[in-house]
Amino acid sequence: MKDINYALMLIRANKFDGAKDLLKELIQKDPGNQDILYNLGMCYTELDKPEKAVETLSECIRYYPHYANAHVALGFAYARLANDEKAKDHFLRALEIEPSNPYALRNLGGLYGKENDYEKAIQCLEKSFSINSDDQQTAYGLGYSYLHSGKTDQADQYFKVAISLDESTKIAGMAKDFRREIAEITLKEKGFRPDAMFYCLAALQFFQDKTTEQVRQVTFEIGARGRQGLDINNPDKKYTLDSMDGSFSGVQLVSYMYVGFEMIDPEQDIGLDLSEEYKQALGLFSKERPHGYTIH
C-alpha cells in the first residue's frame, strides 16, 4: 500500500519527481485529501511547474479555505508566475487565518522587498525570524533588506547568521558575496584610507622576494578567508593565516590581498577598490625600498 509518509521522505531527500508521481497516485485513491494536495502542489513548485502548482493548491484551498500553509504555498506559486498581486493576496489571507505564520511573513517580506518597500519588508521578516530563527532564507532576506536600507551593520549581522545556519547552500554563498560588498562599502565610506595605504606598502615589501606561487598562496588564502567575512572596522580583531606568520587585522589582510592580486592577476575583479591606496603605496615603495619597513 502506498503511503504519504513515503512521499514526505522523498521530499525531504529532494526527490520531488518521485514524490510527485507517488502523490498523484495517492490523490486518485483519496481525492481531496488535504496533505496530499498540499504536498503535491509544493512538489510542482519545486519542479518548476508553477501552473500545475496553482491548479493543485487552488483545489486544496477550495476544500480547506482556512489552511494557512496552503495559502502561503499558493502565493509562492503565483510569485513564481510573476503574479505578485495574487501572491500578496494569498500571503495576506494566510496571515488573517494565522497572524504569526512565519512562512507567510517571510514571503510577504520578500514581496515588499521586491517592491523596494524595505521598511515593510524588514517588519515582516523580523517578525518571521523571531518565530523561526533557524530559517536561512529569512536571515538572508533581512540582510538583503537592511543592506538596501543603507543599514550595513545590521545587514552584515544577518548575512553572518544566514551563513552560520548552513554554509553549504547557495544562499550562504550569496550571503558571503554580500558580506564582501559590505566590507568594500565600509572600507571606502571614509574615503582614502591611509592605514590601507601603509598596509599595501608593507605587502609590497613582504611580497618582493617571494615567488609567484608564494604570493598566490597568501592571496588566495586571504580571499578564501574573506568569503567567511573579515571585520575591517575593528583593528583589535586579529586573524592568522597558514601561509604567513603573525596575526593581522581585517584591513591589513584585504590590503595584502589587493596587492597580491595586482601582482599575480591585475585583471581580477576582487570586489574591493584600493586602487588609490595601492598607487600611493607604490610611490612610497620605490622611495622607501632601500631601507624597508614592515607594519604589522
Partner: protein, 268 residues
C-alpha cells in the same frame, strides 16, 4: 571465479539480470567482514558487484541470495522513488556530539586513544544495523519461504550472526559502550531475532530473557510485524520507524539511489 553455486543460486542470478537489466560481476576481495558483500549497480555501472572472500564455505550461497534479495526489493521500486540512507562527517559529528557525555563517561574503562579508535566502529556498526536489519527480516523470510533447499545454510548463517549479536550482552561490552548505542543495538537485535526465530522455528531470544532490552525489543518487534509493507518503500519507512524507536533518527539521512558520491562503483 571459484564459488560453487548450489540451487537455486544460478536461477536467482538470472532473475537479477532479467529484473535489473544488469548481471553480477564477482570480485575476490580479502578484507571483507563477511564472505560476500554487494555493490548495487548505478546507471553508470555496467554490472552489480559481489565481493567475496577466497576462503569461504557453502554459506556464501545463502549470502549471495540474500544480497540479491536487496536488489530485487530496490529495483522493483520506480526509479525516481528509490532512496538510500547515507551519512557524512557532519551528520556523524552531530550524532556523536549528542552522546558526548556518555562517551566521556567511558574514560574510566577506556583510554581516550582507545575511545577515539573505536568510536567509528560504534557509529558505523549502529548505522549498518538500523538500515539493514528491517529489510533483512523480510529477505530472510522470503528465502525461508521460497527456497527450502537453502534453509540449512540460512540457519547456519543466522546462527553465526546470532552468536555475534549476543556478544553485545556481555559485561565487558556493557562497560565499554555508550548506553545509547548499546541500548539501540540490543533492542534491534532482539526484535530481529524474535521475528526471524519465530519464522524459522528457532529460539534465538533466550539469551535476552533476563535483560533490560526485552520489553522494548518486544515492542519494536510488534510494531515491525504490524506495520511492515513488504517493498523497498516499506523497508525505508520501517528503517525510519526503527531509528525513531531507538532515538537515533538524526544519525543518518536519505538521498536518491543514484545520488552517490563520485567514485562509487570503482572496483580498484
Amino acid at each position: 571465479m571459484d564459488i560453487q553455486f548450489i540451487d537455486p543460486v544460478p536461477d536467482v542470478l538470472e532473475e537479477v539480470k532479467n529484473l535489473t537489466g544488469k548481471g553480477i560481476e564477482f570480485i575476490q576481495k580479502e578484507n571483507l567482514t563477511s564472505y560476500a558483500a554487494l555493490q548495487m549497480a548505478r546507471k553508470n555501472m555496467p554490472s552489480h558487484l559481489i565481493y567475496y572472500k577466497k576462503k569461504h564455505d557453502e554459506i556464501i550461497n545463502h549470502l549471495i541470495v540474500h544480497e540479491c534479495g536487496h536488489l530485487f526489493r530496490i529495483f522493483k521500486c520506480p526509479e525516481n522513488q528509490r532512496l538510500m540512507p547515507y551519512s557524512d562527517q557532519q551528520i556523524k559529528y552531530n550524532a556523536l556530539k549528542a552522546i558526548e557525555k556518555e562517551i566521556m563517561a567511558l574514560t574510566d574503562s577506556l583510554s581516550e586513544d582507545q575511545i577515539a579508535h573505536i568510536i567509528n566502529l560504534w557509529y558505523d556498526g549502529l548505522i549498518r544495523q538500523v538500515t539493514n536489519l528491517p529489510p533483512d527480516i523480510m529477505i530472510e523470510k522470503w528465502i525461508y519461504d521460497q527456497f527450502p533447499t537453502l534453509r540449512s545454510l540460512q540457519l547456519e548463517s543466522l546462527k553465526k550472526q546470532h552468536s555475534e549479536s549476543v556478544a553485545g550482552l556481555t559485561e565487558t561490552v556493557n562497560r565499554t559502550t555508550p548506553s545509547t548505542i548499546l541500548f539501540a543495538a540490543n533492542v534491534m537485535n532482539y526484535a530481529f531475532f524474535r521475528i526471524l526465530g519465530f519464522h524459522v522455528g528457532q529460539n534465538f531470544i533466550k539469551e535476552y530473557s533476563a535483560t533490560s532490552y526485552l520489553n522494548k525489543g518486544k515492542e519494536l518487534a510488534s510494531i515491525t510485524e504490524k506495520d511492515y509493507e513488504d517493498s523497498h518503500e516499506g523497508d525505508n519507512m520501517m528503517i525510519d520507524k526503527w531509528a525513531a524507536f531507538v532515538n537515533i533518527s538524526d544519525w543518518f539521512k536519505w538521498r536518491g539511489f543514484e545520488d552517490v558520491p563520485p567514485g562509487y562503483g570503482h572496483t580498484g
